[in-house]
């Protein structure tokens, strides 16, 4: 079974106090998937958990049959061994490095970095510092940095929230084309379902993921990722 499979539970603290975040589902291999939900519904937590920056209280995460997290087996692969690139909402570019320096940070070699910059159309700005870039250019620089590391999965958190309306529409199309061309497994998270539908082959919602968690049998007694396969319900995918 390819792609990312997950079934996680985590107590989050939001504006209204503590609440349980529960989600299960599968993001298909080599496709661009979307995950939509209102703010405070745990979207960012889901991405951070998939990337390995946070641990769920309980549950399982696997990628391409490889276990990334399993509370039953007490296993958690650290973020730096998952090869899951995460592009933060505000991009988090390294301020002390140039655009090329950022792209080379996790790149296998210089060519990979140059190639990634070429791909996002930033080759001419390679020696600029992040603070000398516009919002759209920053996003592309962050994307190039993530792609240059040749990740197996690309996770994008609210990729358009920092951009104005006009740029938003243009970059959404660009990004959709780009991701489809590379054929990478990608997950995009947004509070706007419309943003996701433009460029994702399928869109799941936080509510659907929660229902899947509740419908599936508890994974606690399991020592493998088998229950996740049961979870693979058609309802999660649109189109």
């Amino acid at each position: 079974m390819d792609g990312i499979e997950f079934r996680i539970r985590k107590t989050l603290t939001g504006r209204g106090g503590r609440f349980p975040f529960r989600a299960a589902g599968r993001f298909a291999h080599g496709r661009v998937s979307g995950f939509a939900g209102p703010s405070g519904s745990g979207k960012t937590t889901l991405l951070r958990t998939l990337a390995g920056l946070e641990k769920p209280d309980a549950g399982e995460i696997s990628f391409g049959g490889e276990t990334w997290f399993s509370s039953g087996n007490r296993r958690s692969v650290p973020a730096w061994k998952r090869s899951a690139g995460l592009v933060f909402q505000d991009y988090a570019l390294f301020p002390h490095l140039s655009v090329l320096g950022n792209a080379r940070f996790g790149a296998v070699d210089r060519e990979a970095a140059e190639e990634a910059l070429e791909l996002v159309g930033l080759a001419d700005l390679r020696s600029r510092r992040p603070r000398e870039l516009s919002g759209g250019q920053r996003q592309r620089a962050a994307l190039a940095r993530a792609l240059a590391a040749r990740p197996r999965v690309l996770l994008l958190d609210e990729p358009f929230s920092a951009l104005d309306e006009e740029l938003r529409a243009r970059l959404a199309d660009e990004l959709g084309n780009l991701l489809a061309r590379i054929g990478i497994t990608a997950v995009l998270v947004s509070h706007l379902r419309s943003d996701l539908e433009r460029l994702c082959s399928s869109v799941a919602t936080a509510a659907e993921a929660e229902r899947l968690f509740d419908e599936a049998p508890p994974a606690r007694e399991s020592r493998s990722s088998i229950p996740l396969r049961i979870v693979e319900a058609k309802s999660l995918y649109v189109g």
């Binding site: 390995g52 650290p78 995460l86 933060f88 988090a92 301020p95």
Partner: protein, 222 residues
């Protein structure tokens, strides 16, 4: 008469204090930033005290605590044969306490201004903790480290009250340039006083100017 000895004592003192604090402060900052304990906050406020207390107060407690009749002083003397009062090592210890907040706060401010997402991005790009420290944390807090170093060094050079009370102005051992300046004035030796004062002024100015030059980051108010 102008002597080189007080200038050398000052330089040695400042170098020793700065070097010790550069080693001691980073782990303490790390511990402090990884806990939310009220005790840590309380302990931290004690270390800030030398910044707000008159130096003579700090010096007096050193005298009272380290004298051979006080428990701490007696313990150090009997157990390790250490007599810290009126000696260079004692001066270094007092200097470390007085200068601690300058180094510590500089490092802490630098760490706090670091966006944690930069570290997380580094992890997702396949870099572990060690590589992330050297490639992300260190370059981004370097201006803070340099600023703390310069500030600590300059403050240690200029310390007067504590140094006078704990060190006792013994020539070649604990008489620093700032004390030599004071003594020169007391004995109406203004040419020497001018010489010491000029050296201290030039050192401090050079330090602060260097710090400001290093911390320029190209930001301007519109």
């Amino acid at each position: 008469m102008v002597e080189a000895a007080p200038l050398l004592v000052s330089a040695r003192l400042a170098a020793a204090v700065t070097a010790i604090l550069l080693v001691v402060c980073p782990p303490l900052v790390r511990i402090r930033l990884s806990t939310n304990s009220p005790w840590a906050a309380l302990a931290e406020s004690i270390t800030v005290l030398p910044m707000v207390l008159p130096p003579t107060v700090v010096g007096f407690y050193f005298l009272a605590g380290l004298s051979p009749t006080a428990p701490a002083g007696r313990f150090l003397d009997e157990r390790f044969g250490l007599r810290l009062l009126f000696s260079f090592p004692g001066l270094v210890l007092a200097g470390c306490v007085v200068c601690f907040p300058f180094m510590y706060q500089s490092l802490k401010t630098a760490m706090l201004s670091l966006d944690p997402r930069l570290l997380e991005t580094s992890y997702t790009l396949g870099k572990g903790r060690t590589e992330t420290f050297f490639r992300v944390i260190l370059p981004n807090i370097l201006p803070g480290i340099l600023g703390g170093t310069i500030l600590t060094f300059a403050h240690a050079i200029g310390e007067f009250g504590v140094v006078l009370m704990v060190g006792g102005a013994i020539g070649g051992e604990t008489k620093t340039a700032s004390i030599a300046l004071f003594e020169a004035v007391e004995s109406f030796d203004y040419p020497s006083a001018h010489a010491y004062a000029a050296v201290l002024l030039a050192t401090s100015l050079a330090g602060v100017a260097l710090m400001n030059l290093l911390q320029r980051d190209g930001r301007r108010l519109p």
